[in-house]
Amino acid sequence: MNINFSAFISGLIFGIGLVIAQMTNPGKVLAFLDVAGNWDPSLALVMAAALVTLGFLQRLIHKPAEQVQDSDLQTCVTPKAKIDEKLIIGSAVFGIGWGLSGFCPGPALISLTSGLAGSYVFVGAMFIGFFVFNFLHRGR
């Protein structure tokens, strides 16, 4: 299959999955993260179902880590890659942003078609964040 077409189909299915699971609704995501409040555990089910599905299909597909190309995620698909301060600090910073907004990157991009100002502001700032990282860490 043409790799652009398969990428498009993957993005579309991924997005529909996020929409159905209501991961695209920051109000719902924050209710999941609010363990001390009126906790909504359903997003844990989303993750569990996704992990089981991918885990099962991955066994059928059988792609060794070396075959998976991804400049920065290579370190995640390789089981023995080391844990460094970048991983911890980056993930911690991401979590703070996620907790403040209820948006992680996928749902934020999907929310663009809602026409809400908050969606544009978040996505614009997120791309500035990507750009700042690329700028500071270029030539790595």
Binding site: I3, N4, S6, A7, F8, S10, G11, G15, I16, G17, V19, I20, T24, N25, P26, L30, L33, V35, A36, D40, P41, L45, V46, A49, A50, T53, L57, K63, D70, L73, C76, V77, A81, K86, L87, G90, S91, A92, F94, G95, I96, G97, W98, L100, F103, P105, I110, T113, L116, G118, V121, F122, V123, A125, M126, F130, F131, V132, F133, N134
Partner: protein, 138 residues
């Protein structure tokens, strides 16, 4: 949780896992959305056109779902200033940490990558603490 919530959560999760498997099978790629999105900015790599196609599919998914008769609920409560700060933190943090909820949370964890498990526990914890501080302390 109502019955419908459980069904939609499980159904949505299955589709997310399926989508990641499609990208892995046909493109040899990890469905890490922060990495795919950041990859459309310079410095560009050769052969990155598929990223735009993935993002196009992702972005039209909500209107497409509505067209099929589904509903899309998006409720944003945070003020714009907070959203701007949050966006910066999410953009920079996901790049520094090498992944987000999709790359680490789904793909990396499904491969039982220790890095991804540590990343997921870290961002879940700081997100939970942040929500606690915003909702119950501030």
């Amino acid at each position: 949780m109502t019955y419908l919530t459980v069904v939609s959560a499980l159904g949505g999760g299955v589709l997310i896992g399926l989508a990641a498997a499609v990208l892995l099978f046909f493109n040899n790629r990890t469905a890490g959305i922060s990495g795919i999105a950041a990859g459309i900015l310079p410095p560009w790599q050769q052969g990155g056109g598929w990223r735009l196609w993935f993002l196009a599919g992702l972005i039209i998914s909500a209107p497409f779902w509505k067209l099929l008769g589904g509903s899309v609920m998006i409720q944003i409560d945070a003020p714009l200033v907070v959203l701007a700060l949050a966006g910066l933190l999410v953009g920079y943090g996901t790049r520094l940490g090498g992944g987000c909820t999709s790359g680490h949370g789904i793909c990396g964890n499904a491969r039982l990558s220790v890095r991804s498990i540590v990343a997921t526990l870290t961002f879940m914890t700081t997100a939970g603490i942040t929500v606690f501080l915003v909702r119950h302390v501030a």
